[in-house]
Amino acid sequence: MASRPAFVRRKSRWLIALALLPLWLLLAAAVAAYAYGLRARGLGWQDGPVLTQWRWLQDDGCVQAQGESLRITRWRPLTVDAPSMTLFACKPVAAVPTAPPWTPPFDLSIGALSAPGLPPMAVAIRQREQRWQARARHQRSEAVAVYDRMSGRWSAQGRIQAGDIAPGFVGALTFTGKGSWRGNRLDGAFRAQGRQLGHGKLARRTGATFEAGVAAGRWRLLATLDAPLALGDGWSLEASQALHASGDPGGVTALSLDLRAAGPQGSVRLSLDTEGTGVARGQGMLTLAGPGLAGTVPLRWNRQALDLLPATLTLPEGLSLSWPRPLALPLAPSGESSISAELRHGELRLKSVDSLLSWQQARWHWQGRLELTGRTAGHALSGAWQGRIDAAGPAGEPARLTVSGTDLLLSLHLPVAGLRAPHWPVHARFSGRYRGAPLSGTLSARHERGRWEGVVEGSVRSPLHSRGGTVSVSARWHGRETQWFLASGSRATVAEGLIGDVLLKPVVVSAVTPLRLTPTGASGTLRLDTDGAVAARWGLPAVTGQVAIAGRQGRARLRVPAWQTELALTATRVGSGRKTGAEGTLEIATPLSAAMSRGLGVTLQQGRLEGQGRWQWRDELRLQGDVSVSGLALDWGSIRASGGKGRVHIERRDDGLSLSSNGPVTLAELQVGTLLRDVRMTVQSDLSTWHFTDVQAGVLGGRLEAAALQWPSLRYQPVTISRIDLAEVAALQNDPEPTVRLAGRVGGVLPLRLTKDSLALQGGRLSHEGPLLLKVRPSAGVGAIKDSHHTAGLALNALSELAIHDLQARLDMSPDGWLDAAVTIKGQNPQQGSLPVILNYTHRENVLELLRSLRIGDEISRRIMERKPVDGSR
């Protein structure tokens, strides 16, 4: 629109003449309004002309005001109703608005007038005989202004409720003012009195006074605060000296204030001054001090803005705030400023990116993007959030945070809705991978009683398990600064699952005492409850116990109630990262029972085992320890041993396990069919090859000895037997009325070959140790042979009784147990005139089956004694 034509201004008198004709009046009003800058769209009629949309332009086209449905409801006097109207601050602001010209009497009522720097108000303007009266109302605040165009004098008074302009505050401000306004020269003075000002929830109230004056556009302001103003959250504001400010329509030219806010975290002092009179420039200082606060910010202000020069501030909870470039805050009741700052905590940095702070009097809001980078507790953190923050709190998309470390990769999803002082409640969801296994859960946090606390619930599929074994954690945590705890009662449950071929029953680890989390590890007492484990050939019943951990050290006392086994472990974590290992001591004490023998080829009937040792774990378990067994009784089905005792040193290295007895290992009895008594030996083994040395045992009334035996071995190893009582050998016939009776002792050397599952004898030599005696009892069977066969009878008569002075035997036994004995006996028969007799006797028998048959006989007698059914099940 071209600039306004000059002729319109001179013709105003012509305009008034037309006013008398309604139609011309309407047209004239329209032309005048147009000339005066009014633009309208949508002329309508609703018992009076209605402009559905209108705008009022300044000469340079800048929209000074606009509104909807302006309606003229009466003509004399002219009554206009505008439900909403918005005024804009057009540049340049410098010029003081000119006093209103002559206008016909009119009434203007505006439902909602919003003007820069003022809250939306309901305004009613009435003009009669050139006396303007304006009434403005906003919520419970009200102001009235009167202007007499003839005398040029104006006056105003009003009452502003603090709560209407600053939510949460109480108290009221009453003001009066008067002055003159002619053309574009505005003069006057204001006085305002604030009473009972303070924060709604707090009892403390204070008063304030404001004085302002305007002269030819130049204004000055003086404000004083009688006593500290309570701000809430334990903070209060005090002014040690009055605030002086002055300026001209263009802005502030002089400013001096000294405000100090004090609260639990410390104090913040703002002081500003002017460099010289009329220079419209000055500096100041924002200083933070106190337990949680520190730092000074140099300030510079000029006509339009207050600059905060680059500075670093220390805030509570170990935070520090800094900004590299000056922050410019426009000195206007409403405006915006793009600020870029950085918040730092340890190695974490929170940077603001394209962020904008804008405000409208006390209503402010920030909009932009925050980016987090840095490291904490050995993990790299990076996060971002885009959204908006205002007094009510943040709003916008959830924030995203990723945490990555050697073993952990986590992405958190933090909704910001509801994030409010003072508790800042957060409910985050996280998911990721821990050592490759998927992990997910929720984390809640809130600031309460001076510390952060919350609940973490999560589940991760255990990397150890091939199936099942989900670890679910439910823990209440709390802490502040560097002290972080998991509350007692927090627990981790490992669901039943398979590790290789072993089915591990559910395991519950719960905190008995609060668990302190430190960079080197946790410390506190845990309780362990497991239902044991099941494998194809063995089973472990429930194991319970307590584990005390302190950083890198740990101690555990575990029990297997079903077996009454007690286990005590100590552990120290050594090394770090991938090379983390552990070492410690181990003590075990347990009775031995059949229940433990499921996976063994032998059944432990009774006994007691105690052991202690040292262990090391670095991706392979190494162990050195001593085990002592006493009162051991066990059986291999029908072969039984009892009275076992011995101490064994065990070493487990990467290449396998070695076992060596410490002192003799003894067995009181070993029943193989015939009884071996007082068995003694020392043992050396790697569990596949066994070396026995100085083996001794009592057998058949005599002794068995071997300097060294290896099993299994293909070599024939000599075993010497001595003082074997032939009477006991004869008893092996297991015949109550034995036909053959023997007496006397024999001994010799038996080269034995002990393979994995067989026993063989080759070139065994036995000979008499002193005189022997042989008697063949005349029994029915013997008698029958004598009658029918003369020579046989003769022979048997010779053998009826034989005093033997020489016995030489050769023995061989094949691996399947068949014994071939060739015995040459020389003696004489005392009943037959000491008839000299030479007996060549060969004996072929399967000894293993003999011993088995003896065990059967023995088994039946044992069972009768113990009253157990023949096929009692284990």
Partner: protein
Amino acid sequence: CTPRVALEAPKEPITINLNVKIDHEIRLKVEKDVEQLISQDSALF
């Protein structure tokens, strides 16, 4: 058991050769019990 007896001409001392072989037939018993266990107890085998 069936002893076999041979007699040599009496030099001054009598020489008797006596050969004894003893047999135990308990091997079959175990197999019978195992066979019975496997065939009867279908829940276990």
